[in-house]
């Protein structure tokens, strides 16, 4: 389950919205819930308004922000992300609302 993806290099995912085009390529869009530990990506979209949307934005979770999955709780939920200079925990159903552009592993 643990990914050994290093992810230290600059990839093709660039800052901004809707950068990740569908189809084959190095960059793939996925939901935050599907991300693995230590995987890094850039937030593409947050499909949520209301209180939750606002709380996410308050924590710096806006399109263009780079995040890293730090760990998951013992029961796999919630998930802790590194955002800007802090670590933020989200429930999986909240993580579902966030789409992330992730660099694909090279020759997995």
């Amino acid at each position: 389950m643990v990914s050994f993806w290093k992810g230290r290099k600059r990839g093709t995912c660039k800052a901004g919205v809707n950068q990740c085009a569908p189809g084959p390529g190095k960059c793939r869009r996925m939901r935050l819930r599907e991300m693995k530990r230590n995987q890094r990506g850039r937030i593409a979209a947050i499909k949520q308004g209301g209180e939750l949307g606002r709380r996410l934005r308050d924590m710096g979770l806006v399109p263009g922000t780079e995040i890293t999955i730090q760990k998951r709780a013992p029961l796999y939920d919630p998930v802790a992300l590194r955002v800007m200079g802090s670590v933020v925990s989200l429930r999986n159903n909240e993580a579902d609302l966030i789409e992330v552009d992730v660099e694909e592993e090279e020759a997995a």
Binding site: G7, R8, R40, I46, G49, E51, L52, G53, R54, R55, L56, R57, D58, M59, G60, V62, P63, G64, T65, E66, T68, Q70, K71, R72, A73, P74, L75, Y76, D77, P78, A80, R82, V83, M84, G85, S86, V87, V88, S89, L90, R91, E94
Partner: protein
């Protein structure tokens, strides 16, 4: 130039705001509440060269919208009281996120000074911040500080005073939100200004922005002020909102947030932050987390830490508790010997000293408990506990932070619901918090243990440990299921988002811990103490009055004389003048008189209001198997559960029974024909879950912000417990009798 300066301290949670406040004001703090809400309001004074700087510590918030109570409180304070300046404390290791709140202060137009905190931690992480560049770009003073050791704090205050005294009109900053929104804001601003719409309180552009963000509080205020203009503004906003949805597929709030972060990014873009390491580097805190929240090791370590807290609290508070008990025992004895027999003495000893002693008896416990929690909270571990357990507690409509409160309340048998209820303050979601504080009293607190020990010892002595364990597990099951029930009924509503920050681990400062502990303890003594004194007097009166009618008194006196005449006058004199132990016939007489006195006390109790209530309730409680004696004890237990065993003793004419020495009462109950294991089980079930003791009810009311909830917990819990006890008794009797 005024000699007093009033400033507000504001910033994100975990940015070190409280630490800075403690460093600035030390023990010169005043803790109160903001009107109408349970958010703490802390004020203090800092002295700078003969000047007093009055500091108000605003609640920690991430933003200034109107969603949470904390945010409303902070915003209201800023606009209504217009402090001379906002000292905005900002975590240097997390500049980008922290400045999000700063941008919102800028838009309010109150002078801001940035206290750039934890520059030492930032340096450790290889982050260097060019404060001059940052100050220049933000257009406000920036002072690097280390709140923990006071480094830079004096300069911060000097700069703050300078800022407050600076002449000139302050202009709210105008942040650009893109063409569409900027255009709209300009138009709104013009109309607001023209009409003088709320402009005495808020900046005009800010009002426009809040209309755009659909801010409930401002909208309501606007409609009251000028409903026509408000409707016009709303209409104008609606047009642009529709346009934004069509073109950007985005809500205005999201667009606004994006631009705020964009503004911050632009400011931090080049030359402000110099990083030595890559962003992805693991710091000490992250490495600690690998172990402390590890899938397997994490929960085990958590178990040890929680047990440690528990052990610490209840072991080390033992001797100060005993000391206080001894003191009140001594005081009671002193009053007993100094005053003549009568109502005054009874009021002083049974009413006031026992009542106040009962409240103060909790004080060491609360101090130790809060010290322990403060350590866990300030170090950052409590957030990890919430993180690890959230998945389990969510099932029951709670969240991970509920667990602490449950454990303290007696989740490991022997806690206390008073600090447990107070500990729910660490929960930030209102409904989850209410559900937790209403169910925490179901746990087996220390005062319920003697009752459990007594009845289990009397009726299930062969399986003592098993039954104790069963009642502990049952308490958890009941608390969680009732929480679920409440969340589906009176506290209905979606789960509050659980977006929780896991702050880096930090070593707590002793000063912070002590201030934290003392504040909570003092608050408990002050608020609970006064109310409890009144209530214990009322309960004392209920259990004392009315006195026995004269003819019954006379009957007892006659019996007394009769007993005495059967012994010789020498023996009587021996007993009357001397004190136990006696020998031979004197001992017999002494025993007989004592027996009579006990009967008399039982009769008194039965004749009192409480006794009558107990007797009257027998009609109803019969279906759960309780007779009038049990009823009286349970009524008394509302004052404090400790009273149950001793009242039971009085009702069974056993004289004063100490909670620890219940051998005789256990024997009495075991042999009493009205008692059997089914009755015992039913009483135990009822006792565990009925109305919390008065101290807890007072705390629930305080924490929930209304007496309504205190009353709810008494009525609901009692009905619930009675239903449960009835089922146990009825089903049990059927099975037991066959």
């Amino acid at each position: 130039m005024s000699s007093t300066v009033k400033i507000a301290l504001a910033g994100n949670p975990n940015s070190g705001k409280t630490t800075l406040f403690n460093t600035l004001t030390g023990s010169r703090q005043h803790v109160g509440n903001y009107p109408g809400v349970t958010v703490e309001k802390k004020e203090g004074v800092y002295h700078l060269e003969g000047r007093s700087i009055h500091i108000v510590d605003l609640p920690g918030t991430y933003s200034l919208s109107a969603y949470s109570v904390e945010e409303v409180v902070a915003r209201d304070f800023l606009v209504n009281e217009k402090p001379g300046a906002i000292v905005n404390i900002v975590d240097a290791t997390n500049l980008e996120r922290n400045l999000y709140l700063t941008t919102q202060f800028f838009e309010l137009g109150i002078p801001v000074i940035i206290a750039l905190n934890m520059i030492d931690a930032a340096a450790d992480r290889g982050i260097q911040i060019k404060t001059e560049v940052l100050a220049e770009r933000l257009g406000v003073p920036v002072v690097p500080i280390v709140a923990r050791n006071g480094q830079g704090v004096n300069r911060l205050m000097e700069e703050t005073v300078r800022l407050v005294n600076r002449t000139g009109v302050w202009q709210p900053k105008r942040i650009s939100y893109g063409d569409d929104i900027d255009h709209l804001l300009l138009s709104l601003e013009e109309r607001v200004k023209e009409a003088g719409f709320l402009t005495s309180i808020y900046p005009a552009r800010w009002i426009g922005l809040k209309y755009l963000e659909n801010d409930d509080q401002i909208l309501a205020q606007g409609r009251r002020e000028n409903s026509e203009l408000s409707a016009d503004l709303e209409k104008e906003v609606a047009g642009v909102v529709g346009h934004l949805r069509d073109t950007l597929d985005s809500e205005p709030e999201a667009v606004v947030a994006d631009h705020r972060y964009g503004y911050i990014k632009a400011i931090l873009s080049e030359g402000v932050i110099v990083r030595k390491h890559d962003l992805g580097r693991l710091y000490l805190s992250d490495r600690l987390d690998i172990v402390l929240t590890h899938r397997l090791a994490g929960p085990v370590i958590m178990g040890f830490i929680v047990f440690g807290l528990y052990h610490f609290t209840f072991t080390y508070s033992e001797w100060p508790v005993a000391l206080l008990e001894n003191f009140f025992g001594w005081l009671s004895g002193f009053v007993d010997s100094a005053l003549p027999e009568g109502a005054l003495k009874s009021l002083l000893t049974a009413g006031i000293i026992d009542g106040v002693g009962g409240v103060l008896g909790f004080v060491p416990l609360i101090m130790f408990m809060f010290f322990g929690i403060a350590v866990l909270e300030d170090s950052g571990y409590l957030a990890r506990v919430a993180f690890m357990l959230d998945r389990v507690f969510r099932i029951f409509g709670l969240n991970g932070s509920s667990v602490m409160s449950y454990i303290i309340s007696g989740g490991i048998a022997g806690g206390c619901a008073v600090p447990g209820v107070m500990a729910t303050r660490t929960l930030r979601s209102p409904r989850e918090r209410m559900a937790t504080l209403l169910t925490a009293p179901f746990m087996n607190c220390g005062a319920k243990l003697p009752v459990l020990a007594l009845l289990i010892g009397a009726f299930f002595s062969a399986n003592r440990a098993k039954y104790m364990f069963f009642f502990t597990l049952l308490a958890w099951a009941v608390a969680l299921l009732v929480a679920k029930f409440l969340r589906l009924t009176v506290l209905k509503g979606e789960a509050t988002p659980f977006v929780l920050e896991l702050p880096p681990y930090r070593v707590p400062t002793l000063k912070g811990l002590l201030i934290h502990t003392w504040e909570r303890t003092w608050e408990y003594i002050k608020k609970a103490g006064t109310v409890i004194l009144g209530i214990s007097i009322v309960l004392w009166a209920l259990m004392t009055y009315p006195n026995l009618p004269p003819e019954k008194e006379r009957a007892f006196e006659t019996s007394r004389q009769q007993i005495m005449t059967t012994y010789g006058s020498e023996v009587v004199r021996q007993v009357e003048k001397g004190s136990p132990p006696f020998a031979g016939e004197a001992e017999e007489l002494h025993e007989e008189l004592l027996e009579l006195k006990r009967e008399r006390t039982a009769m008194d109790l039965r004749y009192s209001v409480a006794g009558r209530i107990g007797t009257a309730l027998e009609e109803v409680t019969r279906i759960a198997g309780f007779d009038w004696r049990t009823n009286i004890a349970l009524v008394g237990g509302i004052a404090a559960k400790e009273v149950i065993v001793s009242t039971l003793g009085t009702a069974y004419s056993l004289g004063k029974v100490e909670a620890e020495e219940h051998i005789s009462i256990a024997e009495t109950l075991a042999e009493d024909p009205t008692w059997n294991p089914v009755v015992a089980l039913s009483v135990l079930i009822f006792m565990s879950y009925y109305a919390p003791c008065f101290v807890t009810v007072v705390c629930i009311s305080r924490e929930a912000g209304s007496w309504k909830w205190g009353a709810f917990s008494m009525v609901f819990n009692t009905l619930f417990a009675f239903a449960l006890a009835t089922i146990v008794y009825q089903v049990g009797s059927l099975l037991y009798l066959n």
